[in-house]
């Protein structure tokens, strides 16, 4: 059925879908920030529902504004005709109102079935930039709006956004350190572990279906994995001592982690079923927190081989070790960006941690946070954002910011503490 619907749409617009759009250049006069209006979503052949309408526009405004490509707002400038079609004359009021981009949308509810159609218009050229229609159930509401925000980014940057992704994190909200997962904007938090023990350092498989973590549930800090769709926690590495800071290789075939079965923490790789341990570091110092480069050729990690914890980089076979961070007395938590051009990490200075980024060649060391104490940076899959945990006077929790440090916003908060966020793949 859905195949036919899709086919029908392609047949109806052969010219448009054939000319797969390049991304659109829209620039505001005088280099000011682009302004996007999200017109109130309309009920189509259905009773208006304020909650649905509000959620659609709130999601779009939040996503687009945080992305930095435009400043978005909910706005009704003039009553528009029903549906989502724009007549030429409909653009005039938006243009004089200083709006560069306009999103119109319509929703239909039929029992539990939900249909939403979105259209993005470039006001100055009076053209539609892109449009999408989504069919699903009422629980898909926010995801559909996030998905169209992804499409807006694709239209303007050439790369899809990451707004349908999720963040896994550790929280003590139930009294123990358990792993939870939520939409990237903090909605729909769900527990992943409920074993009442200490659970740490979640990491997603590259396909996003499984999650790694360390748990003390059988006494020792062992490495487990579980599918998001199943509660079974499968032990992967229960070797003597530490089995911590697991990080999935980009191709999904291996896991890098720190094991201390040899006496002190060393970096190993194991196969995705936990077998075939290969030792990468041989050193009396502590070596841990491996982070693969996106091409799988290198691993950044933390070592105190020179006395204090610093970030090092080695080839993924353990060769060619070099020190990456040379400023700061205590640098930890390296995470390689998905584009490969940066490594985020946390530096302890003056008793608190701050997030930095540095190029893999050691240049461009840049501080991104300064308020409170901020740890465990992790990248969004498109590299546009960094999530991290923060303790600050304006509120503790899981935060998200743009990768240049701007637009820091709290996405998870509440009872208990929040730690070690990790962003899911797309």
């Amino acid at each position: 059925m859905r195949f036919f619907l899709f086919l029908a749409i392609i047949l109806a617009f052969p010219a448009v879908s054939g000319a797969e759009s390049r991304f659109v250049e829209v620039t505001a006069p005088g280099n000011r920030q682009l302004k996007m209006a999200v017109a109130p979503p309309r009920a189509v052949d259905t009773a208006p529902d304020v909650r649905i309408s509000r959620q659609i526009s709130d999601v779009l405004v939040f996503d687009v504004t945080l992305s930095g490509i435009a400043v978005a707002e909910n706005r009704e400038l003039q009553p528009l005709a029903a549906g989502t079609v724009m007549a030429d004359s409909d653009f005039i009021a938006w243009q004089t109102g200083g709006i560069d981009l306009l999103v119109r949308s319509g929703y239909t509810v039929n029992g539990d079935q939900l249909t939403i159609e979105f259209r993005l218009f470039d006001v100055a050229s009076r053209k539609m930039v892109t449009a999408k229609r989504y069919l699903g159930t009422s629980k898909d509401l926010r995801r559909f709006a996030h998905s169209f925000a992804d499409e807006i980014l694709r239209a303007f940057t050439g790369e899809k956004g990451c707004f349908t992704t999720r963040i896994a994190y550790v929280t003590t909200k139930t009294g123990n350190k358990e792993i939870w997962i939520m939409d990237w904007d903090g909605n729909n938090p769900l527990p992943l572990t409920r074993n009442g023990s200490i659970n740490l350092n979640p990491d997603f498989s590259p396909d996003g279906r499984e999650i790694l973590f360390t748990s003390y549930k059988r006494g020792n800090p062992d490495l487990y994995k579980r599918a998001l769709s199943s509660p079974v926690e499968i032990p992967l590495s229960r070797r003597s001592g530490l089995n911590i800071t697991g990080n999935w290789s980009p191709d999904g075939t291996k896991i890098a982690l720190a094991l201390s079965k040899d006496g002190d923490a060393e970096i190993y790789t194991i196969a995705r079923d936990g077998s075939k341990p290969v030792r990468l570091t041989i050193n009396p110092a502590l070596d841990l927190y491996p982070s693969w480069s996106p091409d799988g050729k290198q691993i950044a990690f933390l070592s105190d081989r020179l006395g204090k914890p610093q970030i090092f980089v080695m080839a993924s076979d353990g060769g060619g070790v070099r020190r990456l961070t040379t400023s700061g007395a205590y640098n930890v938590n390296p995470r390689w960006s998905p584009k490969g051009d940066k490594i985020a990490y946390a530096r302890m200075q003056g008793g608190s941690f701050q997030i930095f980024v540095i190029s893999p060649d050691g240049g461009g060391d840049t501080q991104l946070t300064s308020e409170g104490s901020n740890e465990n940076p992790a990248w969004s899959p498109d590299g546009r954002f960094i999530t991290f945990s923060s303790k600050r006077s304006s509120g503790d929790g899981i935060y998200v910011m743009r990768c240049d440090g701007t637009a820091q916003i709290r996405v998870a908060q509440g009872k208990g503490s929040f730690f070690q966020p990790i962003w899911s793949p797309r």
Binding site: F4, V16, V85, D140, R143, F144, P191, L228, N333, M348
Partner: protein, 192 residues
């Protein structure tokens, strides 16, 4: 059925035409949601906060004995707890043994030898500063440092094991040096 499909196709095409020119129409299905885990009872005993070492003038005198054992096991009571051991303290970001640590370990050594056959686990802990992950490794280094000292005093290696809790199980809450000093420690627990 086929006729219905054709009618539907025609109808949908017409609708799509009437609704105006659209690029990249796409149908997106909902994805499965996360199934929450079953709750599992915690089997692992939670460590009690460390007793202050000054209160333990006779470390060997009273190992804690769990009384709630079945009658047939009365002859071999299971010994557990850590009340008979002194906690060993460390400097910030260090696993070296201070003089007070060495004297505490010497007392613990005698206590462990007196518990012939018992197994003792050394728990390494850190204060809240430092990264959680690095502290897991540092806590292990502290436990190992205590273990190595005990073996030099004649405790059999197979009586000892180590575990690190990093900064996950502080003895006391607080974010000043007096709290931190109490949390940078190695504790000793008799395990079965």
């Amino acid at each position: 059925m086929k006729k219905n499909m054709i009618l539907l196709l025609a109808g949908v095409s017409l609708f799509a035409l009437l609704s105006g020119g659209c690029a990249n129409k796409e149908v997106v299905k909902g994805e499965e949601s996360v199934v929450p885990t079953q709750s599992q009872p915690l089997k692992q005993a939670v460590a009690q906060p460390a007793a202050a070492p000054v209160q333990q003038s006779h470390p060997t005198s009273q190992p804690a004995v769990v009384a709630a054992q079945p009658a047939q096991q009365q002859s071999t009571p299971v010994i557990t707890g850590k009340t008979s051991f002194e906690t060993v303290y460390f400097d910030f970001d260090k696993a070296d043994l201070r003089q007070d640590a060495r004297s505490a370990l010497s007392k613990n050594s005698e206590a462990i030898k007196a518990l012939a056959g018992a197994k003792v686990q050394i728990e390494g802990h850190c204060d809240e500063r430092g990264s959680a992950e690095y502290n897991l490794a540092l806590g292990e280094r502290r436990a190992k440092s205590a273990l190595q000292y005990l073996t030099t005093t004649g405790v059999k290696g197979d009586q000892l094991s180590i575990i690190s809790y990093g900064k996950e199980k502080p003895a006391v809450q607080g974010n000043d040096e007096s709290a931190w000093a109490k949390n940078r420690r190695a504790e000793f627990v008799v395990v079965k």
